[in-house]
Symmetry: C2
C-alpha cells in the first residue's frame, strides 16, 4: 500500500514538473511572438493552453483520488494539498502567457510593443522565462536557492512594470491610446506571472522547511 | 465522531459565507470610494483586506486539519477540497476590491474615473456588488438559480469592460495617458472580480449536482 502511495506521490511531483515545463514553453513562445510579431507562434501558444488546462484537471483529480483512497496525513497530506494549489498557480501562469499571445494576435501585423519600450519588454520576457525555468527546476530538485532567485526576478518584474508606467506617464509619451492600453495590460500580465511563480516557490519552501511563516510572509521568504 | 465532523463541515460553510460577506463589503466600499473619490473609505478597504487574507489562512488550515483528522471521503471530501478552492477565489476577489481602492487613493483628490465613463463604471460597480451579494447567498442557500444570475452579471461585466475599450479607442478619446492606464486597470479588476465569482458559483454547482462537466464547462454551466 505504501509503495503504491509513494509511486503516486512521485507521479504527482512529475506531473507538476511537466506542467511547469509546459508553462515555461508557453511563456518563452508567447514572448518571442510578442517581440517579433509572430502570428503563427502566438496562435500555437493560444492553442496549447488547452493542454495546460487539461493537465491541471488531471492533476487535481489525481489529488482528490489520492486524498480519498490513501487518506494521507502529516507530510504526505501537505504534499497533496500543496500540489492542488501549485497546479492552480501554474494553470494561471499558462493563462497569462496566453493573454500575451492574444494581444500579439490582436495587433498583428503590427507589433504590440511600442517603439522605445522594446528593451523593457525584452527584459520582462527574459525575467519571466528565467522565473518559469527556475520554477520547473525548483519543483524537480527542491533546491531552495532557486526560490530566492525567483523572488529576485519577481522584484525585477515589478520594477520593469513600474518602468512601463513611468514611460507612459512621462511628458514625452505621445502614443495612441491603443498602445497605452496594450502596454498596461502586457505589463500587468508579466507582473502577475511573476507573482504566481513566487506563490509556487513559497509552497515548495513550505514543503521543504515545513514553515508556514516562510511560505506566507513575504519578508520572511526574502531571507530564506 | 460523525457529529463533530458535521459540526466542523458546517463551520467551514459558515466561514465561507462570512468571508464572502467581507468581500461583498469590500467591493461595495471600494466602488463607492472610486465613484465619489472618498479617500477615507478607500483606505478602509485597503486595511480591511488583511482581515480577508487572514480568514483565508484560517479556513485553509481548518480544511487541512479536517483532511488529516477526519479523513473524509466521497461528498465530504468534495466539500473540503471545494472550500479550499473557493477560499482562494474569495481572497482574490478581496485583492481586486483592494486594487480598485488603491487606484482611488493614488488619484485622490482627483477622481480616478474619467468624464464620460462614470455611467459605465457605475454599472460595473452595481454588477460587481450584485455578483458578490449573490455569491454570499449562494454559499448560504445553495440555490442554483443564483449561480445562473452570477454568470449573467459576469457576462455584463465583460460587456462593460469591452465598452471601456471602445470608449478609449474611439477617435474622440483625448484623455491623458494616466486616465487610459487607470481605466484599463480598473476595467480589468472588475472583469476578474466577476470571473472569480463565477468560479465560486461553479464549484457550488459542482457540490450540489456532483457534475464536474457543469463545473468545468462554461457552456454547460450557462444552461444550469
Amino acid at each position: 500500500m505504501r509503495d503504491i502511495f509513494d509511486a503516486e506521490l512521485k507521479q504527482l511531483g512529475e506531473d507538476l514538473v511537466a506542467m511547469s515545463g509546459r508553462v515555461e514553453q508557453a511563456v518563452t513562445s508567447a514572448g518571442q511572438a510578442l517581440l517579433t510579431a509572430d502570428l503563427r507562434l502566438a496562435e500555437s501558444v493560444i492553442a496549447d493552453d488547452l493542454a495546460i488546462d487539461a493537465l491541471e484537471r488531471d492533476l487535481d483529480e489525481r489529488c482528490v483520488r489520492l486524498l480519498a483512497q490513501q487518506q494521507p496525513v502529516a507530510t504526505d497530506l501537505r504534499v497533496v494539498v500543496s500540489a492542488l494549489r501549485m497546479s492552480a498557480s501554474l494553470e494561471r501562469m499558462g493563462d497569462l502567457a496566453r493573454h500575451v499571445a492574444q494581444v500579439t494576435r490582436l495587433r498583428y501585423p503590427r507589433g504590440a510593443v511600442p517603439e522605445g519600450l522594446e528593451g523593457t519588454f525584452t527584459q520582462m520576457q527574459d525575467a519571466a522565462v528565467r522565473v518559469a525555468r527556475r520554477t520547473t527546476t525548483l519543483l524537480e530538485t527542491r533546491d531552495l536557492a532557486l526560490a530566492e532567485s525567483i523572488e529576485q526576478d519577481d522584484d525585477l518584474l515589478d520594477a520593469l512594470h513600474s518602468d512601463t508606467f513611468s514611460a507612459m506617464l512621462s511628458g514625452e509619451w505621445r502614443r495612441p491610446a491603443q498602445e497605452t492600453v496594450d502596454v498596461t495590460l502586457l505589463g500587468r500580465y508579466y507582473e502577475r506571472f511573476g507573482d504566481h511563480a513566487v506563490s509556487v516557490a513559497r509552497r515548495v519552501v513550505y514543503l521543504v522547511t515545513g514553515d508556514t511563516a516562510h511560505a506566507l510572509d513575504p519578508a520572511a521568504v526574502r531571507s530564506v
